[in-house]
């Protein structure tokens, strides 16, 4: 059923739909990021699509590809009863210039999702009314879900205790049998980012 939506999308946007595929019944289209909001408006308003329910928006990091990030949008039509996934690829190898139009004017619900993608991945949504961090604190430097964010870097807001009295009665090798065993010693506790 959602195949008809893909056909309508290709009919309207032609070569700006880079590729389409379907997996497990989920139809997906990869589109030109420059026409991101046009695509969203078309999918919302066209009588063949009527995607009136915004489901999800997120970003995926592929550090070895040249457009590094994929912005993924999930929609559902409550009237036509079909769903579709649309992707756009943005950003260079360093994660710079990862910019795409905001979808808040199309669906209000996109607001927090775009803030989350900006916070954790660093994708900038142009025209967003309130593009701030939503999960991490404002002092946080970097975007923690990028795959080149160091796994053992923490940025504490309060300095950790350095006193030797009242240490926990278990050793540093206890408690996390599957984690990095020496993570307590290698961490940057000063909060500086190096």
């Amino acid at each position: 059923m959602s195949k008809r939506v893909l056909d309508a999308l290709i009919e309207r946007f032609g070569a700006d739909v880079y590729e389409t595929h379907a997996q497990f019944g989920d139809e997906t289209a990869v589109v030109n990021p420059a026409r991101w909001r046009e695509v969203a408006l078309f999918l919302r308003d066209d009588p063949r699509c009527l995607m009136n329910m915004f489901v999800d928006l997120t970003a995926v990091d592929y550090p070895l590809r040249t457009p590094r990030f994929e912005v993924v949008l999930h929609m559902r039509s409550l009237e036509r009863n079909h769903r579709i996934r649309v992707k756009a690829r943005v950003g260079d190898e360093e994660g710079n210039n990862a910019e795409i139009d905001t979808l808040v004017p199309v669906w209000k619900g996109a607001n927090w999702f775009e803030r989350e993608a900006y916070d954790l991945m660093g994708v900038v949504f142009k025209g967003h009314p309130d593009l701030r961090r939503i999960l991490m604190y404002p002092e946080f430097v970097g975007h923690p879900l990028r795959k080149d964010y160091p796994a053992n870097r923490i940025q504490p807001l309060v300095p950790f205790r350095e006193v030797t009295e009242k240490l926990p009665p278990f050793g540093p090798d206890e408690g996390m049998p599957f984690g990095r065993q020496s993570h307590d010693d290698q961490r940057d506790r000063t909060g500086e980012v190096n």
Binding site: R161, K166, P168, P169, G171
Partner: protein
């Protein structure tokens, strides 16, 4: 005063006839502190539901003198840190601890509060003892209510003894297997390698 009929009589003891007991003042104060813990639940995650179960009639934490939860740090002297503490929450937790009036105690409820649990990432504080001193650690994800009550009793015992060193609720031998004399692995003890004794 005596009753008019029957064989029983009641006499009021007065003045120098009453008995007395001797004790040390600190022991008396510790005894009083032990049974008047005013708790501040700092509940952040899944252990919170376990805490509610602990406070509800089935396990009834109130019977140990830890009756009244106070949601103001100035009126509390036992801080329960129940759940995962993230870096963003850490300043709030530290401030709450600093606002509590002395003497104050901290109980880390569950592995996340004790050592960060299975989180080893950018967001989670790997144990609240990185920020504030802890008196009792109760491991478990979530801990059994019996283990938490054990931790509370351990804390009361430490208060009565005036002991401020950190303690941990160790895993117990299961009474069901005691007959079989099956030793459980104890925390903090390395099992000897083969060939060693």
């Amino acid at each position: 005063m005596s009753s008019s009929g029957g064989g029983t009589s009641v006499r009021v003891i007065e003045g120098s006839e009453t008995g007395f007991a001797t004790t040390r003042l600190d022991a008396l104060l510790n005894w009083a502190k032990k049974y008047s813990l005013f708790q501040y639940p700092f509940v952040t995650a899944c252990c919170g539901m376990e805490f509610m179960a602990m406070a509800s009639p089935r396990y009834d934490m109130a019977r140990f003198g830890a009756e009244a939860p106070r949601f103001s740090p100035r009126q509390a002297d036992l801080l329960w840190v129940v759940g995962t503490i993230v870096q963003r929450q850490a300043p709030a937790l530290k401030r709450i601890y600093e606002q509590m009036a002395d003497p104050k105690w901290v109980l880390a409820f569950g592995t996340c509060a004790s050592c960060g649990g299975f989180y080893d990432n950018y967001s989670t504080v790997a144990g609240i003892d990185k920020i504030i001193p802890v008196d009792v650690y109760v491991p478990g994800c979530p801990p059994r209510p019996e283990a938490v009550l054990d931790g509370l009793l351990l804390l009361q015992d430490k208060i009565a003894r005036g002991d401020r060193t950190p303690g941990i609720v160790k895993p117990r031998r299961d009474p069901a297997v005691l007959g079989g004399n099956l030793d459980l692995v104890q925390l903090g003890k390395k099992t000897p390698a083969k060939g060693e004794r």
